[in-house]
Assembly symmetry: C2
Homo-oligomer: 189 residues x 2
């Protein structure tokens, strides 16, 4: 097959997969995970069920792919928040705000709960932990964060303290939770 | 049936149930939830399988009863920690230390994960939340805890910040986590 055809087909496959995952995310957000079936996904994505099954052999495979796409895009957002200018403290604050906001998105939390034993959840939390640890170490070096507790423990604390972010009732409550979490990190006065 | 017989039988039934739950807790602690079967429980409790099934019709019923017993005894311990003398701050510290220690017990965390959608978990967390909220309100009234965040949010933060206590590697790490959580509650300034 000429390369240009192969590229076109690959592009088409990628578009199809993206449409399927977009449709799934929309369904979960609107009707919950319980109502998200292969039939509903096919209808929402505007394709036949047979076509959908060519891309994903079962619902769990769709959910896993959606979750992996979420994790990748969340990590990219968190890295962007980390890399914007500012002191380590400001960057830490931005990363925690971003994480809390991402964790607050409804379809994400239901999906994470369903996928909680999957490797992609474990890998996502591991990468988040590493990102936080590095940032915390920078902040400690500049005297902005307490130095009496090792960065891995501080990072785990931050993740735990925001673990129920999806249950908080408002953006203001989310913001207060991040401030509370940050307050714990201040050097002991 | 004479009342004394009925009382004796009721006492016997209670002892049998307690032995079954003790055996189950020991099995989970030693071999994990996966290895805990009705047969293993019967053997460990020193009774026939038929006897065990007279008390519990299936494994999930044993696990639920064990979990409910844990929740009740944990709440009693937390209430005792709350009721010992001291300032609201000292009592709060004692309650959080106690909660972190209880959450650290291995068989408990595996069981809580399995039971996480059960009403008894929800009820347990609700009672813990109420206990913390009342204590936090007392501490706020005495100027010991920040007043810019409502007690229900502070209580949820404490529970979240200790939610991964069972993953912490040592008692010292557990102690540091409680101190970190408490640091967030101090009045600003």
């Amino acid at each position: 097959m000429p390369k240009i055809w192969a590229d076109t087909m690959e592009l088409h496959r990628r578009d199809m997969r993206a449409s399927i995952l977009d449709a799934t995310a929309a369904l979960i957000a609107e009707h919950g995970l319980g109502a998200t079936t292969m039939l509903a996904i096919a209808e929402r994505a505007g394709m036949g069920r047979a076509t959908l099954y060519k891309y994903f052999r079962e619902l769990d495979a769709v959910l896993l792919a959606l979750h992996e796409r979420d994790v990748a895009s969340h990590l990219a957002e968190l890295q962007a928040a980390r890399d914007r200018q500012g002191t380590p403290w400001q960057r830490l604050e931005r990363v925690l705000d971003t994480y809390a906001r991402l964790a607050h998105v409804e379809h994400g939390s239901e999906l994470v709960a369903r996928m909680r034993h999957s490797e992609s959840v474990a890998r996502g939390f591991q990468q988040l932990g590493q990102l936080l640890q590095a940032l915390l170490a920078d902040a400690i070096a500049q005297g902005l964060v307490r130095e009496d507790i090792p960065p891995p423990e501080l990072a785990a604390f931050c993740i735990g303290a925001l673990s129920d972010a999806h249950t908080l009732p408002s953006q203001a409550a989310l913001r207060r939770r991040v401030q509370l979490t940050l307050a714990a990190l201040r050097p002991a006065g």
